[in-house]
């Protein structure tokens, strides 16, 4: 028996996810939609093996502008579920019903869930559910997902609706628009499935050809349809999209006049408004924002985070796992290569990475709370003016904020940015912000070379921010990124208390994707790395070497090292560390540990400070840190970049740009630093000066003429 599929659709912030969690419990499967990374969540209805629930992305409309919208409508039109539960925020009825009018045209059974029932009651407004149900021509039920009321009834109504089959869509449209839609319907009737007739006709009038299922219309028919649209637009003096959107809102206004009694039509200040008055106040907004950011880092990185991370690294993996395991293997007389591989390679490598998980979970938890409360939207509101200056939008701030924990979810968070141009720019620049895996590198060098100065970390963040800003300015002037910044049309949701269930679940999902990575990519790379540094060729035979100086790894490092000579760290250890950093940035510390002959080093590598200080000068250390912070991020992030860009060309461009920027920045710092220190100029200093001149040109040149004109229109 094929299960009944019920899709959950609704606006962002409508409480869809809360309802989904409520209906499915822990029975969830999180995957991705084919071809994109938009999360695809499925789960079985609690206690029912035959009812599959599908959580669709939160969208405002079925228009074709964001990946979320495209996925939602492709899914609903091409692989239709048996019924749709449309979650509607009853405290924001009109805007939420806009999507409802579109969903009703898909020819599928729809059940409307009026969520936030408790909020509406408290405000004193009254919604006439029967009138709403009559007007929409579908069942309408109250729901308070927050208080867990109404969910079961809703599921029952949806199952019933699925069994009954589709209903005739109500006429949201009227007058000349309806006439035109009917004409188009008559024209395309033979070619389009009955269910999708209204949907397709409306989309054709909106001149949105991509939305019509199948291969498209034959040319003569397409011309006739286009003729209908032309006549409508001519008669009504507006474009088809606008006319249809206006017709939907006219319908919604009529409906809400009949069904909604506002108790306080005046503008009474709600609690949310009063909070917002303080939080986005002209004078207080920026200080409050800085304080929130500081607290978040203080808690997640310095205090709780580092305590737990230290405990996991030293006690859990060091004392509880590694030591007994070594004893066991030695007792069983296992070959030293194998026991080393298991204890130092696998446990050491994976353990170092898993040590970050608590810190990361704390950061994700705090970010999740800020997101759930509604503060992150205000952050975008406050910061937009700043970010727009260098070709990004206020929404770019959130990916970068999350990226300071881990670039992978940070890059994934760029999805909320609507315009492709801004999204791509954000994806390219997000990994410049030092993620928590880059912190150990900074701590290692701060300790070994810079006398444990706290300024090193500050300088690293500053370098990251500068890289974002300068890249924005440079890239927005290139032809690849021509055009104006994205429209910044964003809802500022009312503040509400965070829901622990949602916050915990979101933090765990983000953390879990990181743990999975540790279990796969990093595990494999630790094994390969361990073998490469333990084995060497002596007298034509592969043997276990005593010191890593003679290992295969050293040979590979020596081969590539000259590339980094102009940057001041052209020796094999630094080269090898840079490459293992591509597997996971924190690998750099453990790699140095292994290369200097220490099996297990602390997170900040205190044991190897002396050896490292001998190998680096202050300048070459700065150059090394800079290169490793800015260059291509770890492979997991590269995977995220590839998925979000959804294009090999753009991925290649992103990686090339990052590498070029990192190399140029390190070259500038090292070579100009040498000049300042009084060293005689050489060929490399000339190269550095040329790079400096080129960067200044790219930064300061005016916007290309064609672009400026377009921007002025």
């Amino acid at each position: 028996m094929t299960p009944i599929t019920i899709a959950l659709a609704g606006n962002p912030n409508s409480g869809k996810t809360t309802l989904f969690n409520l209906l499915t419990g822990a029975n969830q499967y999180v995957g991705n939609w084919p071809g994109v990374t938009i999360e695809k969540k499925e789960g079985l209805l609690l206690g029912r093996q035959d009812i599959l629930l599908q959580d669709l992305p939160g969208v405002y409309s079925l228009s074709p502008y964001t990946p979320e919208e495209r996925i939602t409508r492709d899914y609903l039109s091409l692989q239709p579920p048996d019924a749709i539960i449309n979650v509607v925020d009853a405290s924001n009825l009109e805007r939420n019903l806009f999507l409802t009018t579109q969903l009703l045209e898909l020819g599928l059974p729809v059940v409307v869930a009026l969520n936030m029932a408790d909020l509406v009651e408290k405000s004193g407004d009254q919604v006439d559910v029967a009138a709403l149900s009559r007007g929409l021509g579908c069942p309408v039920l109250w729901l308070s997902a927050l208080r867990r009321q109404g969910a079961q009834e809703l599921a029952q109504a949806a199952i019933q609706a699925a069994n009954q089959g589709s209903q005739a869509p109500p006429d949201c449209l009227e007058g000349p628009v309806l006439d035109a839609v009917s004409q188009v319907e008559a024209l395309i009737q033979p070619l389009v499935p009955r269910r999708l007739l209204r949907y397709s006709a409306v989309k054709l009038l909106e001149r949105d050809a991509r939305a019509v299922p199948g291969t498209g219309l034959p040319e003569d028919l397409a011309n006739q349809v286009s003729g209908v649209a032309d006549r409508l637009e001519e008669a009504e003096q507006d474009d088809g999209e606008s006319l249809i959107t206006a017709a939907r809102y006219d319908f919604i206004e009529r409906l809400s006049r009949a069904a909604l009694t506002r108790n306080n039509p005046g503008l009474k200040m709600s609690l949310s408004d009063r909070i917002d008055q303080v939080v986005t106040n002209r004078l207080l907004a920026l200080p409050i924002f800085a304080l929130v950011m500081f607290l978040m880092y203080y808690i997640s990185v310095t205090t709780i985070g580092s305590l737990v991370t230290g405990f996991v690294n030293d006690t859990v993996f060091g004392d509880w796992v590694a030591a007994p395991l070594r004893q066991l293997l030695e007792g069983a007389r296992v070959a030293p290569l194998v026991s080393g591989l298991v204890v130092d390679g696998v446990v050491g490598g994976v353990g170092a990475v898993l040590g970050f998980v608590p810190q990361m979970l704390v950061l994700f938890l705090l970010l999740g709370i800020l997101e759930d409360v509604g503060y992150l939207a205000r952050v975008a509101f406050i910061m937009d003016r700043v970010f727009r200056r260098f070709g990004l939008s206020g929404k770019s701030f959130i990916p970068m904020l999350i990226g300071s924990g881990c670039s992978v979810p940070g890059i994934m968070a760029s999805r909320t940015i609507e315009q492709e141009r801004d999204r791509r720019m954000t994806i390219i620049t997000t990994s410049f912000i030092p993620c928590s895996a880059k912190m150990p590198i900074i701590a290692l060098f701060a300790g070994a070379v810079y006398g444990n100065s706290g300024w090193v970390a500050a300088a690293a963040y500053l370098a990251g921010v500068l890289a974002v800003v300068l890249s924005g300015i440079i890239l927005k002037k290139t032809r690849r990124f021509a055009g104006d910044p994205a429209p910044f049309v964003m809802e500022l949701p009312a503040y509400h208390l965070p829901l622990p269930r949602n916050v915990l679940r979101a933090a765990w999902e983000r953390g879990w994707s990181f743990i999975k990575r540790a279990g796969t990519v990093i595990l494999l790379s630790s094994v390969v790395l361990y073998l490469l540094q333990a084995l060497g060729v002596e007298g034509g035979r592969l043997v276990v070497v005593d010191s890593s100086e003679g290992s295969l790894l050293a040979a590979l490092g020596r081969l590539v090292a000259p590339v980094f000579l102009p940057l001041g760290f052209g020796e094999w250890k630094a080269t090898v560390a840079t490459f293992t950093g591509l597997l996971a940035k924190e690998n750099i510390v453990s790699t140095y540990g292994v290369l200097y002959g220490f099996a297990q080093v602390a997170e900040d590598g205190a044991q190897i400070w002396g050896r490292l200080a001998a190998d680096f000068t202050g300048l070459s250390a700065a150059s090394f840190i800079l290169f490793n912070l800015l260059c291509v991020p770890c492979f997991a992030s590269v995977g995220a970049i590839k998925r979000e860009m959804n294009s090999s060309g753009w991925t290649a461009f992103a990686l090339l740009y990052q590498t070029l920027l990192a190399y140029s920045a390190s070259l500038l710092v090292y070579q100009l630093g040498l000049l300042i220190q009084g060293q005689a100029p050489g060929l490399y200093s000339l190269a550095a000066l040329l790079v400096l001149a080129a960067s200044l040109y790219l930064l300061l040149r005016p916007r290309p003429v064609g672009q400026a004109r377009r921007a002025a229109v």
Partner: protein, 73 residues
Amino acid sequence: MKTLDQLPVGEEARVVRLHGQGAVKRRIMEMGLIRGTRVLVRKLAPLGDPMELTVRGYELSLRKADAALIEIE
């Protein structure tokens, strides 16, 4: 022609028509700002832009450059 970006904080107006085209116009309309809609300027961001509006009972943030596409009375 008076446009929304010129409306002072705390004042309310009615949308007359939307200029511009494509994704920006479409998105503005979908969020409920169409001909005849009443809109209140709630506040400006600390750096003067974007604006926070009240439309159809909820809060919407819009850049001044985009608000300049909305003719009001």
